[in-house]
Symmetry: C2
Subunit: 568 residues, 2 copies
């Protein structure tokens, strides 16, 4: 290979006439790009056994997603690669937090193995918070001892987002044990609005990144303390434009791009990390600076060897496109192989071994009581807020019949049930939801953050029960029922989170489910009715949520009764 | 410590009212700096058991020298720390190439151990080129197997400068073995003027830095290929001002500062890395950018944990000074301890164990023949060039007496002898030097790059022999003799390279030696007569040099006779 670099022997592949983006100097290189054995040999004068003319194209390092939960795509890693590689993504820093909450070590093992089924490089951050809180039943509890073995695994590069920042701040032993175990690795943060001394403490403990900034000043404070900060643009949470005023070329090198959570239709229609890059370019950031945030900066932060640049010895991961002001990736090379040509994937992922993460709906159907029996009619109600996963707690009197709550007697109030589905505990948490708007219908899903129990919303027990039964039958997924009839469903057989089907099928089902549910009276303000539901169990975001253990008051950080006491 | 960071408990030490330089955002932080157990806890509102008011001061991370041969200071590491820490240096990336060439593994072991005698952090790059060439006898030959054991040693961070870039380019096995052994570590480069395809090959092999750039375009080319480039300012080689036009804020993060070789008097009078920083500031680079090149950039390049910035969890290495436009360090803290106050060191280094690197002049005095017997009078002459370690090859007829060369018959020609002093081989290499100018005198030294054999220059055998004998008696060093009398000498007992005395003593001797030699007819163009001599054996810099194996033609890369053939 040294002889090839010196031009003494022809390279296997030489790319000619592309304008090559140099992320080190932030300018353009001109020359032949020689590639051999998956590596970039150099830029200069080179002859190749194959020579490809890319006149009129820009060539950039393959894009890297700095933080993503692949599970949010509802695709298994092999199909995920088919979805994102045409967008120019050649590597992702993944955190398999979702499936770990369902399947524990089996889930992590599955993701690590399945990730190797496609040319996409998946670097794994091992989930740090399984379960997310003590107020829910997850499929597993992972302590430091349960995850330390992953340190020796190929492509494991750190500890996933430390959402339990309160645990860090109060010095909770289980939390500090995990941090200590991973102390020589990158530890991702998750600390919305944390600042001043508490932020010092969090960083001191060893957390090095954050992707939860929502305001410019927050970004600046975190960069000042030595954190790398991700500009996130996902399906559920979008921060790029909010953070833009906080950017300054002096510390562009500390800024990374990520998607966090992206649904399959958004990947198809909006894009992946190419979308974050294009947003920044349109906002006036120099294109090569924006590209650097999705390439070399991430490689530096996560210590990814030989990735993130076009230089000798680097892995030949690169993308080609024609317009530097509005990047639309046409061809993608991974390890020197053309994997996407004219936006079409040219690889066929391998089959994955998913057996250990199937059949995860462990629920006794004979034991499902959906009735709401109340002592008083003054209750705590979960009120939805437009475009937000935060809810408002509302205390209101409702109409009861024989001490029972029926939505039919209470306009715009729905039953929300979270059924534990990991361990046959029979737990059902219950809440009353306002502002969703569903008539003669029920939805049930096994995506419900973060423990992914079975969440079911409806205005009548019959439809709810049919939906729940169907979920069990299909091994998890999303089911929509109205007037006793199953309108449509998407099976998510893998952990109840991911489909075995490809992106197109999943999008078709989701599109149809969305169209059907819109006919059932759903509030038009709700952008994504299913994802809105999936976050109604997320016990770390205020005000009121429901876990399998009951109605959860995030401010009080405790389970509360449905009935509002007199003190309310 | 988390509780301290949160302000629940007082910190041991709090620095108040300093303007704190933030190398991440490249601006100034205001607040109390809390320190505990050697670490920075945070900047904010803090109370301390001890609170120190530094109003009017700037506070910056401790400076790091990105590449240095400590041996060039002629001081052992403990005394070196006393010399450089008052200049603001708290860490160095050292390459113990010199003593390794004399003492092999014992030399490396000595430096690693001796480095721990003082608060200065010495991170070691293990020498890659011992010996430097095959055309000289060094004290050791270190192959990959001889150095791989160091990978597990604390503070060993990589492979030292790969000077044998030709070896890399031709794929020499011993060279590639070493690179492979250190492939997951930083590998320093040394590749003056290497460019284009050969540079691609060198970088492809795994070399990641270069400190030999002498022209702006060379710097840019190396940065483009992903190298970190050092701006070097040493006693012998000074590149900062030459490289300045090649700098651009887009890639300041790839630029490091280093000294490479600094003599003790230059450290005292000119400074250490603070000098490089001040040069850049005077040239118009923003002070915090210049400081970043000597702190966080080096920490990033060499993967130094918790160093190079003032942020939570970082080691509390910092310096204090009053003028940001002309940095003159007053106080230095290392791991939270005040080690320099008002420029005066406050620490006493520990004794070092130097026994294994003493008595390194292994030379049989009965076997020294300094005569120059020649077959013809047409000879190859080493001509000195002003302020340069390059020499010119000159072919000239000289006057012989009984086929013998005597300087007394040949104005401005001197005898140069390099006596092997590691293994009693009896090797003496001989050359004729023009342009040095010495009358009735001889110098002998055991600093002679890179094998550090005994080098002796003189115009008469009697003085030369006296000097050589004195060198043996004092165990190495520098000796000046005139008319049978020893005018002065500096003993460098440690490997023949370093004194056991402190900086002040060494400077005194060197100053006196310089004054004495100036009285002996030395060419006024020669800035440092002793160092000029030390480089006359460096077989990797053109044109003609002398090693213990004979006269060496760097262009032919072979030993040649003193007599110039007819083809010359």
């Amino acid at each position: 290979m040294i002889a090839i670099a010196r031009g003494e022997i022809s390279a296997s592949l030489v790319i000619k006439n592309a304008q090559i983006i140099n992320v080190f100097t932030k300018d353009i290189d001109y020359g032949d790009l020689a590639i051999e054995d998956g590596l970039i040999i150099g830029i200069g004068k080179y002859k190749g056994e194959v020579e490809l003319d890319y006149s009129g194209y820009y060539l950039a390092p393959g894009f890297i997603d700095g933080h993503v939960h692949i599970e949010s795509s509802m695709l298994t890693p092999n199909n995920y690669a088919l979805a994102v590689m045409p967008k120019g993504t050649t590597s992702v820093i993944a955190d398999c937090h979702e499936i770990a909450n369902v399947c524990g070590n089996d889930g992590i093992d599955f993701m690590l193995k399945a990730a190797k089924s496609a040319p996409l490089d998946v670097f794994m951050m091992i989930p740090s918070c399984v379960p997310s809180t003590d107020f829910e039943t997850s499929g597993a509890t992972l302590l430091a001892d349960d995850i330390k073995g992953y340190l020796d695994e190929e492509n494991v590069i750190g500890l996933g987002e430390m959402m339990d920042y309160q645990g860090v701040l109060v010095g909770k032993k289980e939390v500090l044990d995990k941090i200590e175990t991973f102390q020589n690795f990158r530890i991702d943060g998750h600390a919305p609005e944390l600042k001043d001394q508490d932020l010092n403490a969090y960083v001191l403990a060893g957390v090095g990144t954050d992707h939860e900034c929502s305001e410019p000043e927050e970004l600046i404070q975190k960069v000042k303390r030595g954190m790398y900060v991700h500009l996130r643009e996902g399906s559920q949470t979008k921060n790029v434009m909010d953070l833009l005023p906080g950017l300054n070329p002096s510390y562009y090198d500390r800024i990374l791009l990520c998607s966090d959570d992206l649904h399959p239709n958004d990947i198809a229609k909006v894009g992946h990390i190419d979308h974050n890059i294009n947003m920044l370019i349109k906002a006036g950031i120099r294109p090569i600076s924006a590209i650097s945030m999705a390439t070399i900066n991430i490689a530096n932060c996560y210590n990814l060897p030989r990735r993130g640049a076009i230089a000798p010895g680097y892995i030949a991961d690169f993308v080609l496109f024609k317009d530097l002001q509005d990047i639309d990736v046409l061809d993608v090379y991974k390890s020197g192989e053309l994997v996407v040509h004219n936006k079409v994937p040219k690889f066929i992922p391998k089959e994955i071994a998913y057996q250990k993460v199937m059949n995860t709906v462990k629920l006794d159907l004979n034991n499902v009581d959906l009735s709401f029996t109340l002592k008083t009619n003054k209750v705590n109600i979960i009120t939805l807020i437009k475009n937000n996963i935060i809810t408002k707690k509302l205390v209101q009197k409702i109409i009861l019949k024989n001490k029972q709550f029926f939505p039919e007697d209470n306009p715009d109030l729905l039953k929300l049930c979270v059924l534990e589905r990991h361990k046959y505990t029979g737990n059902i948490g219950k809440g009353i939801v306002k502002g969703y708007g569903l008539k003669n219908a029920a939805i049930a899903m096994t995506i419900s953050h973060d423990s992914h129990n079975l969440i079911c919303l409806g205005d009548n027990d019959q439809d709810m029960l049919i939906a729940i039964k169907k979920i069990k039958e299909i091994g998890g997924g999303i089911v929509l029922v109205s007037k006793g009839e199953i309108l449509d469903f998407l099976a998510l057989e893998v952990g109840g989170l991911m489909s075995l089907e490809k992106q197109e099928y999943v999008i078709d089902r989701l599109t149809n489910l969305d169209e059907r549910i819109r006919e059932l009276g759903v509030n038009k303000d709700i952008e994504d009715p299913f994802m809105q539901l999936a976050f109604l169990s997320l016990a770390v975001v205020p005000d009121l949520k429901v876990t399998d253990k009951g109605l959860f008051d995030v401010h009080k950080f405790s389970i509360i009764p449905l009935e509002a006491g007199d003190e309310e």
